[in-house]
């Protein structure tokens, strides 16, 4: 290769590096400003939950999206990291000099240690066998945690007081806003580290074993060893999320590592989109918001996030970030206007089907509680009797009519999309 050709191939590095850092600067600014924009203590605690969920979902996507590893027991690393951090917090309560901001490091150590142990078993295999083993390991760990009440506090878990340790530079983290800034700083740093990791040799090897684990062997790498390293690092970051959760909640229980917690992180990561680094951030923010906002309104919110998950798996396997990524070139090429009418034509069917689904779900939940002797709560402000036939028929008709309208409008929308994306490519 000639020298001039080499210089031609060398691309400008510093400009690109600056542009790559821009989202991180913006994220830091947003984290600084948000608590002053979002109303009240409720908003603040919601923001704290989001920060923790972001770290957790990103650590999960190190496995699923980047490494092709489906971990059914990821909450175990958060949980055990949380327990270890809680023990450290209790030591601080007892007078040991353990600065509170360092607790997530303790969580990281806990998550890492358990991930190395669990990964030593599970990462020898890939694919379905790997997923099955993670499920088994998670069951096992939860059982052990409940069997050792002296260490993990049994059903009640462990609780502590984050503000009773020695204050640091006059800050004792007693108030929620102080805790928020601590969590935000940690979440930002952890996310940045996970992003930097994607640009390292191991990060690229993770992508390689996701795409084609066999070929990696013929390029000199042991796929099982790559899986173990990636799994361990992912556990470390999940442990940081656990440390943050311990800090935020001041309590850690076996519920933090339950199968529900593990499936919640799968759901939020998938809905956000596993194909991009930032997809899980969207999922974590959205699902955390929905779980908090919806759970105050309806008992059926888990059903809704489940439905959203299934809908995504079927119709948009790339998640929200996948949809954004697919549409970005079309919008940039100025063809958004062509898509809008076809997409808008789907809205009536969508809202009808949504209303029907909500109606059926809410009626179903009411039916259960009425059968248990409770008086029926109104459905969306309407006093409907879930034991009557009419509300069910109306909801079912709404759903069917909506589905029918959607089916009719879908081909045109698909066609418009294909046309626009082809034209955007040609440009």
């Amino acid at each position: 290769m000639s020298a001039p050709a080499q210089t031609a191939l060398a691309r400008p590095q510093s400009g690109a590096a600056l542009r790559a850092m821009l989202p991180w600067v913006l994220a830091a600014l947003a984290a600084l400003i948000l608590p002053h924009v979002v109303p009240g203590g409720f908003g603040l605690s919601l923001l704290c939950r989001m920060g923790i969920a972001i770290v957790f979902a990103l650590s999960f996507n190190m496995l699923l999206g980047q490494g092709g590893m489906l971990d059914f027991g990821h909450a175990v690393f958060l949980g055990l990291g949380g327990f270890l951090a809680m023990h450290a917090m209790k030591l601080a309560d007892a007078g040991w000099w353990i600065p509170l901001p360092a607790l997530p490091l303790v969580g990281a150590a806990g998550g890492l240690a358990v991930a190395i142990l669990a990964g030593w078993v599970s990462t020898r295999r890939a694919g379905t066998a790997f997923a099955m083993i993670t499920l088994g390991v998670a069951e096992l760990v939860v059982a052990v945690v409940l069997l050792l009440p002296s260490v993990f506090g049994g059903e009640e878990g462990l609780s502590g007081d984050r503000s009773s340790g020695p204050p640091l530079l006059g800050v004792d983290f007693g108030t929620q806003i102080q805790a928020y800034y601590l969590i935000a700083a940690w979440a930002w740093a952890a996310a940045l580290l996970m992003w930097l990791y994607t640009r390292t040799p191991l990060g690229r090897l993770a992508n390689a074993i996701r795409d084609n684990p066999e070929r990696v062997g013929f390029l000199g790498y042991d796929a099982a060893r790559i899986r173990l390293l990636v799994f361990s690092l992912s556990g470390l970051f999940a442990g940081i999320a656990g440390g943050l959760a311990a800090l935020n909640d001041e309590i850690v229980t076996a519920g933090n590592m339950s199968p529900e917690a593990s499936s919640a992180v799968l759901v939020m990561t998938f809905i956000g989109g596993v194909g991009t680094f930032w997809g899980p951030v969207i999922g974590a923010v959205l699902i955390t918001f929905l779980s908090v906002a919806l759970s105050t309104v309806t008992d059926a919110w888990q059903l809704y996030s489940g439905l959203l998950f299934v809908a995504m798996v079927v119709w948009a396997p790339g998640g929200i970030s996948g949809i954004i990524l697919a549409h970005a070139p079309v919008v940039r090429a100025g063809f958004a206007g062509r898509l809008a009418p076809a997409y808008a034509a789907m809205l009536p069917g969508f809202f009808l089907a949504l209303a029907g689904t909500l109606g059926l779900a809410e009626l179903g939940f009411r039916l259960q509680s009425v059968r248990n002797g409770a008086s029926p709560r109104p459905v969306f402000g309407m006093a409907l009797d879930p034991q009557g036939v009419l509300p069910w028929v109306v909801a079912a008709i709404l759903l069917l009519a909506g589905a029918w309208l959607l089916r009719r409008a879908a081909p045109a929308a698909r066609e418009a999309w294909q046309e626009a994306s082809v034209m955007a490519q040609v440009q």
């Binding site: 590095q13 040799p201 990060g203 690229r204 084609n212 062997g217 013929f218 390029l219 000199g220 690092l233």
Partner: protein, 252 residues
């Protein structure tokens, strides 16, 4: 002189079917060696055994005099042997450039590092760029490997195999399914990338074989029935009856 590859008494059966029935193969260092034989003769299986993809039932494989029998694929690669696949085996969701870079990582000091930037490995990037231009795929640099045209994927398959700079290269039907023009380009590429290395290549296109190979081995019914310079193999009566037939007449 030590042989690049020395296979003795190699055997492999799938259940009751004996596919490799005592293969003897000697590949001299620096030669271009073609393995030919009818479909289903066991050529790909032989490559799987040599490269560690499949365990053998009996026999020994020496790479530059070192016993590599029974080693895992990555250990064999790290002793200097790389292989390509008859069925293209790339990283479909990585770009062409990232495929080449991943392929060269092991031999460019990357290890499993997660504390250093990939961009920081300048020789690695140069190597990937170099192979990219060798393949003539510069304009496809950032295209996902899964989205490449078939012939480009086959070229990348060769590129991924050689990017690490292995001393001994095994190519399994690199020109299969290619048009005349694409085959010619592939042959030029193979000639260039095997310069100063040892090449073992499975190939069914006899025109390619006789144009490229220093030595030809014929595999039939699980054994190497002839091995030698092209002229000698062409004239071998056993080869004619077993395999070459009419094709040899036209070449003679």
């Amino acid at each position: 002189m030590t042989l690049a590859l020395h296979v003795t008494g190699l055997k492999k059966a799938f259940g009751p079917t004996k596919i490799i029935r005592g293969v003897e193969l000697q590949v001299a260092r620096g030669e271009r060696h073609a393995v030919i034989g009818p479909n289903g003769a066991g050529k790909s299986t032989l490559f799987h055994l040599i490269s560690g993809r499949l365990p053998s039932d009996a026999g020994q494989i020496l790479l530059h005099g070192q016993d590599i029998t029974g080693l895992a694929p990555h250990d064999i690669f790290n002793r200097g042997l790389a292989r390509s696949f008859q069925v293209t085996s790339l990283f479909p969701r990585l770009s062409v450039f990232e495929n080449l870079r991943a392929a060269a990582m092991r031999t460019h000091g990357c290890g499993h590092a997660f504390w250093r930037r990939l961009e920081g490995f300048a020789p690695l990037r140069r190597r990937a760029e170099e192979v990219l231009s060798l393949l003539g795929l510069e304009r496809r640099r950032d295209v996902l490997a899964g989205a490449l045209a078939y012939a480009d994927q086959r070229a990348l398959e060769i590129g991924v195999t050689i990017a690490g700079g292995a001393e001994t290269i095994l190519l399994d039907e690199p020109t299969a399914g290619m048009s005349r023009a694409e085959t010619e380009r592939a042959v030029t590429l193979i000639r260039r990338v095997s310069e100063g290395r040892t090449l073992v290549m499975i190939e069914h296109d006899l025109g390619v074989v006789f144009g490229l190979a220093d030595t030809i081995s014929v595999l039939a019914e699980g054994r190497v029935i002839a091995s030698g310079p092209p002229d000698q193999v062409r004239g071998d009566p056993a080869v004619r009856t077993a395999y070459l037939g009419a094709a040899a007449e036209t070449l003679a």
